[in-house]
Amino acid sequence: MKIAVLGNSHIAALKQGWTALAARCEGVDITFFGQQRDGLKNLELSEGRLVATNPVLLESLRFTSGGHSFIELAAYDIILLHGMALMGHAIAPRQHFSRKALKAAFQEGVKDQLSYKLLMLIRSATDKRIYLGHEPLKADIRRKGGQATRGYEAWIAAANREFYEPLNAEFLSQPLKTVVNGSATNMTYSKGSKRLATQEGMGEPAHPPKDLRHMNDEFGRLWMMKFLNGRGIGTWTEAELALLD
């Protein structure tokens, strides 16, 4: 089973998480392809491959993937796009959105985003189901208000029903146990987040303490466990699964 993960700085946590889980997923090979911010916009499709169109991105692809100069789409069973300005939201309890309004919002909300552009680029080359993970919900310093995640789950479900499913794609939630205040990430998972290393010697410096957008290794571990479990990959104990949702 080969999995490709494409994304920006937010894949750093997933990569760390996978490192912690890899030994428990025999026969699974995950390759990460990353570049900070919207650097992956410089990918183009050529003969079934996503190739870098500038040397900086080429270097990032090589470094983050462990030596791959391009992304051979046919070589992967599963493709995951993560972050890249794709955001998660929640529908408040008293809100109701019509299907037409939701469709319009999803179309307009993502059409200029890199995650959507990559989705459509890949879709033009393969019929494989493509998975999308949003940037982590912003961490909240305090707990406040209701702790139910129904509104967040409703948003994810609506996005799939009205927008992603017809594209043979699936929008994924972050582990619900990491969600607080209905639409934020528990501050615990924001502490000690690391930057995505994209070149030799860069190391993995930490994000500043006030960064509430990037999450740490433990968040990445839980995220990847949920993702893999959802695809029927790996064997997880009930106690571990209870940490997810």
């Binding site: 309004a101 319009a104 307009e108």
Partner: protein, 380 residues
């Protein structure tokens, strides 16, 4: 000695009006109560109410929106779906009886009817016929959406410090069997007109006064500190069913509404009247704030009115102190506007270009169902 000797200049026509440039006429309003920079202000009513909300937002005040659009929706689409037009997605509330109807649904003293208007393009909500372009997909969706708007309207009543209501019409359409009111005559925006089921009412002073008084008391029953600002829309009727000439019908409608607003403002110290109607329509201003059709108010007219609102407030209560978050937001908006200016300079077409759809005058920024009536009289 007589009472006139000690009156201010604003009490006398010559110094207050005749001797001044029309742009120097001032102190038309002395607000009864201050609005703080953080006070939640909600706006509902006729088309003109939209300007109040936008003006509050543009100055960093807390225009309180209780029904927000789905995240990601573009500004022009938001307007098409009636998000951010009023504080909740009620559509236009033209009459005080409609306001009373919404209030009774929100506060649970009446149950909204289960009427829907079905057509080939979709299912329409008779009480908000223009909020969903092309109509909803099903009756269930109409009811779910209406319930959300009613809940949001209730939240607006409960959470607001100031409730701004712009009175628009005296003419109304009712369901003769059930007694409830429609914002638009069935068969115009949607639905089918049936003379045996649908009746016309041109409301009189007592009816309008009674309904507005009941609304104020009901709202204060759940929010005892709620204050009100009433305005009368200066926009003439698009069409009348009264049998009178539309100009005469407009005069009747606006005069009655203006009289009720003045009466109510005199009866309650927590109700104020802001004279946007006078500022636009007074002969003193020579009609310069109207478009050539002598109906639509020009953007400069709207600015003039709203500048008057804030200047009067500042004159009486001093500058409104804005919270740091509002100042930050204003700065960001200014930067965005500047950025957009550069895009235009490059020759790129800005997003949200007006499409000219009847009843949704995007160019002027108004969403106004009543304008659709013009289609039935040959007016462009």
């Amino acid at each position: 000695m007589n009472p006139y000797q000690n009156l201010p200049q604003s009490s006398f026509w010559r110094p207050a009006v005749s001797d001044r440039s029309l742009f120097a006429i001032e102190n038309l309003w002395s607000p009864k109560f201050p609005i703080s920079g953080t006070a939640p202000v909600v706006t509902f009513g006729s088309c003109f109410a939209q300007h109040v909300g936008r003006a509050l937002r543009d100055r960093g005040l807390n225009w309180h929106i209780t029904e927000t659009n789905p995240p990601g929706m573009a500004p022009e689409t938001r307007k098409l779906f009636n998000y951010g037009v009023f504080s909740a997605r009620t559509g236009n509330i033209y009459t005080t009886s409609l306001l009373r109807q919404w209030t009774s649904w929100a506060l649970g003293t009446a149950v909204p009817p289960d009427e829907c208007w079905e057509s080939e393009s979709g299912v329409f909500d008779p009480f908000r016929p223009a909020v969903e372009p092309g109509g909803f997909e099903s009756r269930e969706e109409v009811f779910a959406s209406r319930a959300a708007s009613i809940a949001a309207f209730k939240a607006a009543i409960v959470e607001a410090e100031v409730f701004v209501f712009t009175m628009g019409l005296t003419e109304s359409w009712v369901n003769l069997q059930e007694g409830y009111e429609y914002p638009m005559c069935p068969g115009t925006v949607a639905g089918e007109y049936d003379a045996t089921r649908h009746g016309f009412r041109n409301q009189d002073f007592a009816t309008i006064h009674g309904n507005l008084t009941a609304v104020i008391k009901a709202m204060r029953g759940v929010n005892k500190n709620l204050k009100f600002i009433l305005t009368v829309s200066p926009v003439p009727l698009t069409a009348t069913n009264s049998g009178d000439h539309v100009l005469v019908a407009t005069s009747y409608s606006k005069c009655v509404l203006r009289a009720v607003a003045g009466q109510i403002a005199g009866e309650f110290d927590f109700v104020d009247y802001f004279p946007s109607f006078e500022i636009i329509t007074s002969p003193v201003f020579r009609g310069i704030f109207f478009e050539p059709n002598m109906r639509s108010v020009t953007p400069s007219g709207v600015d003039f009115v709203m500048n008057h609102f804030f200047t009067a407030h500042e004159t009486k209560f001093g500058p409104i102190e804005l919270p740091a978050s509002a100042i930050k937001l204003l700065r960001r908006r200014a930067q965005e506007l500047e950025a957009r200016r550069f895009v235009r300079a490059d020759g790129d077409v800005p997003r949200g270009k007006a499409t000219g759809r009847a009843g949704n005058n995007v160019a002027s920024g108004d969403v106004c169902e009543e304008e659709l009536l013009a289609a039935f009289g040959g007016e462009a």
